[in-house]
């Protein structure tokens, strides 16, 4: 049709301000035809183009349609495009296409350009006309029709160019139209609400060969990922035809979206596509939903330098690592970003650093520093975060009080911790977590009345939905020697708790029964607990997560030990033997080794010190030389935790074995005094 037309058109240097029409080397000002179009004289406009530019009727209409489209006269454009029988044109093109049996390979590639299999220019004209028709319909809000037209562009391309077009031969304008149509089609289906069609259009765009440039391919991949993440429509898995053996095929929306986003980031990193900042946000969102923030961190680490400032990068990485439980990695990053030469006043980083440090006694002092800086910087718009800073300060000081250098230091830290938490509650009177922490702090200082008030307030505020609240109240009551009330609370908590989560409550209940000299019922409770723990061990696959109890699982060994202790006090010696058999690990040497390992890992661990001290002391009856070691370990433990009743008791035993009866008496007295305000399990187990 138009094969003879091969003039290079881009070389004209005409005045750019007025639009021009151009064909066959002839030019025409648009104003001449615009006037006719505005009067509605399509025929006249068309004939003046045919004469002025020596075009045929279809070409003239297509050109006029484009002119109208560019002028924003969409209805007019549509009328013009509808005047062309585009389907007939397509069929003609198809007829001229050679049979598909002859694939174009490198060997038998056509030698001469005139053997070009399909008249690309003619195809380009027709396809552009259909595409602009689709665009006009889209802009007029007729998206369903627009989608139909746009789809016919792609269908035609597939039919006409069955064996593909080699890169060297492709007409740039044809390629442009095709790329546009590929990108527009899924958007049109999406807008018209035809979601299943949109999904197949996206997949068709990405899985077929359209010779798209990297940027438009990246845009389509991103749009599809966003669609998969947020449309709320579940896409069926990709068709079997598109699956290649051995390659990964996503099973659902989230998987497909994450795959596409990861591929995009890889493209950015290798410079294959232009960086799009929204992609990293999308993948952060998607992976956070799956709790895979360590994968986000990996993606962030691979992002090319220069995209983020280093402080931005450190802070985002710290959030990712801390969400993934990798506290020390997060703290290290925050130290860098909060360095005085970086951004020492970044409030979110300060608060996060303080929070992470508050979980670790050895970091608590550092954390208190961050918290203080946070409080200082919570000003203006951020003033509402002052309470958070104070709360973190209180928590860090409270933790710091566990590794003090002296008694004086401890009480100073404890009272400062309380002061900070009290200050925080003025800002956040409605924050139940804060109420709980304040309660625990009071309990640690044996202000049991205040502690029980806060424990009750916490249960009220959370509607009893948080297990640790119930446990805390029961512990406070047990410390007040109100065992039967503590048991009532524990029973209430058991009612509110699903079976799987009842372990720690049952253990508490068993201990309360013992405290009330009711060993038979305690045995029953222990037996029930044992059954639960064993069932859990069998049925908990990796995919079952315990919502509230993750940190506080009941150890089976612990239950056997409790039972053994009970039976021995009941003089059921046979049963004790059974328990001991199970207890296996109660052998002296392995037990000692385990506790020593514990000590090596955490040299300030009071329970380990007391346990080793106790073991050595028991043994000391026959083997005197270990007694001084036991004595120094126990004294050490008491320096850290002077309220540790067991440590006092065993220190008394050491003195007794050594024959220092007065010292022994003092220790036993301290132990017995503490027993009167000792909770049944340590308060620090719940915070």
């Amino acid at each position: 049709m138009l094969e003879n037309q091969s003039k290079e058109l881009s070389e004209n240097r005409e005045d750019e301000i007025t639009r021009q029409l151009c064909a066959n080397g002839l030019f025409m000002k648009t104003t001449e035809v615009e006037a006719k179009l505005d009067e509605g004289n399509i025929q006249e406009a068309e004939s003046s183009l045919r004469e002025g530019l020596s075009l045929n009727s279809e070409e003239a209409r297509a050109l006029l349609g484009r002119l109208e489209y560019q002028r924003g006269n969409l209805e007019g454009a549509l009328r013009l495009f509808e005047g062309i029988d585009l389907q007939a044109e397509i069929q003609r093109l198809q007829a001229s296409a050679p049979p598909p049996e002859k694939p174009v390979t490198k060997k038998n590639r056509p030698r001469e350009p005139q053997q070009q299999p399909v008249p690309q220019h003619a195809a380009s004209l027709v396809l552009e006309a259909i595409y602009l028709k689709a665009k006009s319909l889209q802009k007029l809000g007729r998206t369903t029709e627009a989608a139909r037209e746009c789809k016919s562009v792609l269908d035609s391309v597939e039919k006409v160019f069955q064996q593909g077009i080699s890169d060297a031969q492709v007409d740039t304008r044809l390629q442009e139209t095709v790329s546009h149509a590929v990108e527009l089609l899924p958007a049109l289906f999406k807008d018209s609400g035809d979601y299943q069609e949109a999904i197949s259009a996206y997949r068709r765009a990405l899985l077929s060969q359209w010779n798209l440039d990297n940027d438009s391919c990246a845009r389509i991949q991103k749009d599809f990922a966003v669609f998969l993440l947020h449309s709320g429509v579940e896409a069926s898995p990709p068709s079997l035809a598109s699956q290649v053996e051995g390659s990964y095929t996503p099973r659902n929306n989230l998987e497909e979206a994450i795959l596409l986003l990861m591929i995009l980031i890889k493209k950015f990193n290798s410079g294959k596509a232009k960086w799009d900042p929204s992609v990293i946000e999308h993948i952060t969102f998607a992976l956070s939903l799956c709790s895979q923030t360590s994968v986000v961190a990996k993606q962030l680490e691979e992002v090319m330098p220069g995209v983020f400032t280093r402080v931005e990068r450190w802070n985002s990485l710290a959030l990712c690592y801390s969400a993934a439980g990798q506290t020390s990695a997060a703290v290290n990053l925050l130290r860098k970003s909060l360095h005085k030469h970086e951004q020492p006043d970044d409030l979110v980083a300060l608060l996060l650093a303080a929070k992470l440090c508050s979980e670790e006694p050895s970091l608590a002092a550092e954390g208190a520093g961050y918290a203080e800086r946070g409080v200082k910087n919570a000003q203006g718009m951020d003033e509402h975060l002052k309470g958070v800073g104070l709360r973190m300060l209180g928590l860090c000081l409270g933790k710091q009080a566990k590794v003090p250098t002296s008694d004086f230091e401890r009480s100073r830290l404890q009272s400062e911790s309380l002061k900070a938490l009290d200050g925080a509650i003025a800002f956040e009177h409605n924050n139940p977590d804060l109420i709980f922490e304040l309660g625990v702090q009071y309990a640690e200082q044996r202000n049991l009345k205040a502690a029980s008030r806060y424990a009750k307030e916490f249960i009220d505020a959370t509607g009893g939905s948080v297990l640790k609240g119930w446990r805390f109240l029961a512990l406070v009551l047990s410390a007040q020697q109100r065992f039967s009330e503590a048991e009532v609370v524990t029973d209430a908590a058991l009612d509110e708790t699903a079976k799987w989560d009842q372990g720690p409550l049952l253990r508490l209940k068993a201990k309360l029964k013992i405290s009330q000299s009711n060993p038979t019922e305690a045995v029953e409770t222990y037996r029930y607990l044992l059954a639960l723990v064993q069932a859990q061990r069998k049925s908990f696959g990796p995919l079952r997560t315990l919502s509230q109890m993750e940190e506080d699982k009941v150890n089976e060994f612990e239950v056997w030990h409790g039972l053994a202790y009970l039976y021995s006090s009941l003089s059921h010696w046979n049963d004790v033997e059974v328990c001991r058999m199970w207890e296996g690990r109660k052998e002296f040497k392995p037990a000692l080794a385990a506790f020593l390992d514990g000590l090596l890992l955490d040299e300030s661990s009071v329970p380990c010190k007391v346990a080793v001290g106790a073991l050595l002391c028991e043994r000391g009856k026959e083997y005197q030389p270990t007694l001084p070691v036991a004595r120094s370990l126990l004294s050490d433990a008491l320096r850290i935790d002077p309220t540790n009743r067991k440590a006092w008791y065993y220190l008394g035993m050491v003195h007794k074995h050594d024959g220092r009866i007065t010292d022994a008496t003092d220790c036993f007295q301290a132990a017995s005094m503490l027993e009167e305000s000792d909770p049944i399990e340590s308060f620090s187990t719940i915070l």
């Binding site: 947020h230 795959l259 923030t293 959030l319 995919l543 997560t545």
Partner: protein, 343 residues
């Protein structure tokens, strides 16, 4: 439900009859169920006329508004509440279109329920509805967790090729749990599982979100803001009264702030993501409500110093900001606006 659970059970059944397998008996059964639901609703909602078919009822904003205002009454969640009973019965009918009708009110029910918990009101009615949703999900997931594979790009996929040698299959994928296995709860209402039960109801709501009306989404955004409790950042200087009405005063002042564990935050974020980026029709009101809710949740995440929630909510906020930036509103499918038009 979305994700892998869907590979086990059938895809969401189409609401419109047209399924050749549907027998006449089934159809009349469906009709009977729908008619029963409509009839019993008309005895509860008296302020407006109830349409005669379910498809009309789903889109009837007057009826929805009437039901919403009934739900918002102070005593609406009690065990003997007619509306709660109707919602419960309607959901039990296993009829997909009736399910949608109930799910539409999940934002309102969940919002009111959780915010009213500290007031110690009887809420057996709300609980029954929420537990019905939970039980439904438990059955349809058949003891399976909802998981996704985190792809490893060193293996080829349908969307990319990999230069690395094809290793021993793609079995070393990293599996992430999106929603853990559900334990059956029957009739027990354990308060420590409350967040999980409501979270699962929200997951179910999300699975049908594309079919939910905009008012329902607006209700949800409102609930999020209430739960986050960060709207009153400007502190009132008034000293709380020490009266009997402390509980009520607290609820009004704090606007229903609740503990927000991840099992709630996660489905909340997904729903907000949809409201911001996945709506069929551009809806400014919903988008603005969702972005306000997101802002509140972000502030709340900062107050809780919850890194995962900070990441998720922060991403949504930044994406919203980028979308509003005119620089990012280029239409890449537009043709070049040349001054010389050629054939």
């Amino acid at each position: 439900m979305s994700e892998s659970a869907s590979s086990h059970d059938s895809p969401p059944a189409p609401t419109i009859a047209g399924d050749s397998q549907t027998t006449a008996a089934n159809e009349s059964d469906t009709n009977a169920k729908c008619q029963t639901a409509i009839q019993s609703l008309s005895s509860i909602v008296t302020t407006t006329t109830i349409p005669s078919t379910i498809s009309l009822l789903l889109d009837d904003s007057a009826v929805s508004a009437a039901i919403s205002s009934l739900l918002q009454r102070p005593d609406s969640g009690s065990g003997d509440n007619n509306l709660c009973r109707w919602l419960y019965d309607t959901f039990q009918s296993t009829e997909p279109s009736l399910h949608l009708l109930v799910l539409r009110f999940v934002p309102l029910i969940a919002g009111l329920y959780l915010s009213r918990v500290p007031l110690r009101q009887p809420q057996a009615g709300f609980e029954a509805v929420l537990l019905a949703l939970y039980a439904h999900e438990t059955t349809s997931r058949a003891d399976q967790a909802v998981t996704v594979n985190i792809p490893d790009l060193s293996h080829p996929s349908i969307y990319h090729e990999s230069k690395g040698p094809a290793k021993n299959n793609s079995t070393c994928l990293n599996i992430a749990v999106v929603s853990s296995t559900l334990d059956p709860h029957g009739t027990i209402r354990e308060s420590t599982r409350r967040a999980r039960i409501v979270g699962v109801a929200l997951e179910l709501y999300y699975s049908e979100i594309a079919r939910m009306p905009r008012e329902s989404k607006l209700d949800f955004c409102g609930a999020c803001e209430k739960w986050a409790g960060q709207n009153g950042e400007t502190r009132a200087g008034v000293v709380p009264e020490e009266e009997e009405s402390v509980a009520v005063a607290r609820s009004e002042k704090d606007g229903g702030r609740i503990p927000l564990p991840w099992e709630l935050v996660q489905p909340m974020m997904r729903i907000l993501g949809h409201c911001l980026m996945g709506m069929k029709v551009e809806d400014r009101e919903v988008k603005e409500a969702a972005s306000k809710a997101c802002q509140s949740l972000y502030l709340r995440a900062l107050h809780d110093i919850n890194p995962k929630a900070i990441l998720a909510a922060g991403s949504l906020l930044r994406l919203r900001e980028m979308a509003l930036d005119p620089k990012n509103q280029i239409d890449h499918t537009e043709i070049s606006n040349d001054n010389v038009l050629s054939v």
